[in-house]
């Protein structure tokens, strides 16, 4: 098998997943561009917005560096760091699923028995990532041109995203050599992405204002590839040279990974797995389901704990900056659906809304385990015992809901701790905890939908579960920002979450989604009982 055939095989496998990522990222850029053109069409409005953001470390931390009041500069400020994270994750998952995942599944063994070089699977996986990044750069550029942004700036924005993507493709390739499992490799690489975002955030927050609409980052930002990409400043002092840093980092990391792969045994890794226990005294299906999710739950909880803590820490800064300024208050209010109040609470709510979504993602991931266990043959082994398929399904659902609840509670406690650390009274912890807990019923609807997908459309279920969650997030959390009609937005359960502490909590918005979720999950159990396993 030649490398070309291997590459063609990889592209064939990517014909659905990769386009979804590319279209999703480009769509997000285009939608927020349209929203900014519509909401802040006037130069003076944009100047005021950017001037306010420039003076506020919280915004600098979350979004990036203000770089002028032109439409292009505002779009870049609003979206770039977020798109950079998306691009980095796209590359991470892409590289790992074609390297360590194939290796664990035994597919590489079959491939490498053919006359191909040992590193050929890795090299072709990196080639697919390169292609994906070139495509993304092209699409982002096109989106910028269609929005009417400065052409050179649009091209540079695309290149900046591509450079970040390649950097993390190389990083993921190294993670795939270091870690023994695809989960471990994805976890390590995704954590690197998170750290890169946070380091850039800290550096940008510590930046110094050059004038009213420009902020220069501190040196800390240059410890992050996203910081270097941002330094290309596409819509002011445009300069492509800083992009060489993430690009070179990616090339070096890729080369190191290729070198390691060429020299190591199939299946070997730096962190090899040790021998385990020879028996399991308290073995049981419930403990099995819990054991399967503990690692990932800790991972999600760590991420949301950091997010929540930062939310608590920086909200007082936002409150201070907003003061009596109605315009900024209005902008912040648009982050939270259906609320007209303009306080620091809204800002915390927006961040804890993201934490709630991540907590839901932990649950959805746990539910998709049902499908991987079925597809890989473990369900057959379990269900050939007296254990019923309904028990198997409900048990995993219970673990999924618990995983979501744990991640949400950790985020709420971390946010409260952040508040206390920045000088609030300890009773804040109760409020932030309530803010995440009221989101749980809405999140459980997505867990139930994922379970229904596994029962009814098993082959499509994993992709479908994630698409549903992203759709719910876009409609419910970002609907106002994107200017979607109310009727469309209200489809998402996230849209109906009580805006604690601004709105009073009533039973309806909590009970209705919970009942809907139970109905959906119950329907899934009925379907599962009536179908073949494996389907």
């Amino acid at each position: 098998m030649t490398a070309a055939a291997l590459l063609a095989f990889r592209l064939r496998r990517e014909r659905v997943v990769l386009p979804v990522w590319l279209v999703g990222a480009t769509g997000l850029l285009a939608a927020s561009g349209v929203a900014i053109v519509r909401e802040f069409g006037d130069e003076a409005q944009r100047s005021a917005l950017i001037a306010l953001a420039s003076g506020n470390p919280a915004f600098l931390f979350l979004r990036g560096l203000p770089d002028g009041a032109g439409v292009g500069a505002v779009v870049f400020f609003q979206t770039f760091s977020f798109l950079a994270v998306l691009t980095a994750l796209m590359n991470t998952f892409l590289v790992v699923r074609h390297t360590r995942a194939d290796e664990e599944r035994g597919q590489d063994e079959l491939l490498l028995a053919a006359p191909v070089r040992r590193a050929a699977p890795l090299v072709t996986a990196l080639a697919v990532a390169l292609l994906a990044d070139v495509l993304l750069a092209g699409l982002a550029t096109t989106a910028g041109l269609v929005l009417g942004l400065d052409p050179a700036g649009s091209v540079l924005t695309g290149l900046a995203l591509g450079a970040v993507g390649l950097c993390f493709a190389g990083g993921a390739a190294v993670c795939a050599q270091v870690m023994p499992t695809p989960r471990g490799a994805n976890g390590l690489a995704a954590a690197t992405v998170g750290v890169a975002y946070l380091v850039r955030g800290a550096g940008d927050a510590l930046g110094t204002a050059r004038d009213l609409t420009h902020v220069d980052p501190s040196w800390v930002s240059l410890l992050s590839p996203i910081g270097w990409a941002q330094a290309s400043r596409p819509f002011s002092d445009a300069n492509a040279l800083p992009l060489l840093v993430p690009l070179l980092a990616g090339v070096v990391a890729g080369a190191v990974a290729i070198l390691v792969r060429s020299r190591r045994d199939l299946g070997a890794s730096l962190f090899a797995q040790r021998a385990g226990r020879p028996g399991w005294r308290h073995a049981g299906p419930a403990l099995l389901a819990i054991r399967g999710q503990i690692g990932t739950t800790i991972g999600w909880a760590t991420g949301t704990a950091i997010l929540g803590f930062l939310a608590g820490l920086i909200t007082p800064l936002v409150v201070e900056a907003v003061g009596a300024n109605d315009e900024l208050a209005g902008l912040i209010a648009r982050l939270a659906p259906g609320v007209s109040a303009g306080t620091g609470d809204v800002f915390t709510m927006a961040l804890l809304g993201i934490a709630g979504t991540l907590a839901t993602a932990a649950g959805v991931q746990a539910v998709t385990r049902l499908r991987t266990d079925e597809a890989e043959g473990r369900a057959e082994l379990l269900l050939a015992t007296p254990m019923s398929s309904t028990a198997w399904y409900l048990r995993q659902l219970a673990v999924a809901v618990s995983s979501t609840a744990v991640v949400a509670v950790v985020a709420g406690l971390a946010a409260g701790t952040g508040f206390v650390a920045s000088g609030s009274a300890p009773d804040r912890i109760g409020v932030t905890l309530e803010m995440v807990l009221v989101q749980l019923p809405a999140g459980i609807v997505f867990i139930a939908l994922a379970a229904l997908a596994v029962a009814a459309l098993p082959r499509l279920s994993i992709g479908l579960a994630w698409v549903l969650l992203v759709a719910g997030l876009v409609l419910g959390q970002l609907g106002d920002l994107l200017g979607l009609p109310d009727a469309v937005q209200s489809v998402s359960p996230f849209r109906h979450v009580p805006a604690v502490p601004i709105e009073p909590v009533t039973a309806g918005p909590l009970v209705v989604p919970a009942v809907v979720a139970i109905a959906i999950a119950g329907f899934g159990a009925l379907i599962l009982r009536r179908r073949d396993i494996p389907a």
Partner: protein
């Protein structure tokens, strides 16, 4: 709990299973008597694994009668599987669990099993129970499923090509263990491609081809009735002829 002593342990009549437009089983029948080791033979893709999955209540028959220990497995798989120990042809385990942990899990699901028996079998099959399932070879994964099944003391064992990854020494351990459970009164349905194994173990065999029943016979009758007395030539003739 069990049906009367002489009723068949497995009774399959007119069993048909369609997956979309393709027909996996076409009016197949099978009868397994109490206390026998029943060979289940047929070319790849003939429908052996589909039949076994139907016996376990995992797959729903399109038409026909299926009884395992007098009960319909699709209607209540938990009730029939309580008396069944199963070894799949392609054993998939939980990558993070060790072999010993996977054995304990499967034993617990089947109602506990016998601790001493488990340890004896681990020693007999020379399995390292501390190894993570991820690192096991095909043969070692099969040993895990075999040990978990054999330590369960089930009235019925359903084994789908259980020795395809075992070395000859382990195969002989396997044969001894199967004879032991048969002598203890259990019934065994053994799907296999290894004619030597079938010849040494099975009392009767059923041959399936393209989802249809070809023949059920005592092994010695099969050999006696044929022009060419080797088992291989008999099976080849059954597998090939239309």
């Amino acid at each position: 709990m069990l049906s009367t002593e002489h009723a068949p342990v497995i009774r399959v009549e007119g069993l048909t299973k369609r997956f979309g437009r393709s027909t996996a089983l076409d009016g197949f029948h099978l009868e397994v008597e109490p206390g026998e080791i029943h060979g289940f033979l047929g070319p790849n893709g003939a429908g052996k694994s589909t039949t076994i999955r139907i016996l376990l209540g995992l797959v729903r028959p399109t038409a026909g009668v299926v009884e395992v220990l007098g009960r319909d497995p699709w209607h209540d798989p938990s009730a029939t599987n309580r008396h069944v120990a199963y070894v799949p042809g392609d054993v998939a385990l939980w990558p993070g669990l060790t072999g010993g942990e996977a054995i304990d899990l499967l034993l617990r699901l089947r109602g506990g099993g016998d601790r001493a028996e488990r340890d004896r079998l681990i020693a007999a099959f020379e399995l390292d129970p501390r190894t993570r399932s991820r690192a096991y070879s095909k043969g070692n994964r099969q040993k895990v499923a075999l040990i978990a099944a054999l330590a369960a003391r089930a009235p019925l064992y359903i084994l789908d090509e259980p020795t395809s990854g075992l070395d000859p020494l382990m195969e002989s351990v396997f044969r001894d263990e199967i004879r032991r459970v048969r002598d203890a009164g259990s019934t065994v349905l053994l799907s296999s491609h290894l004619l030597g194994e079938v010849e040494q173990l099975c009392d009767r065999v059923t041959i399936i081809r393209a989802g249809r029943h070809v023949e059920t016979a005592r092994l010695e009758d099969l050999v006696r009735g044929a022009e060419s007395p080797t088992l291989e030539s008999i099976f080849l003739r059954h597998y090939e002829t239309r």
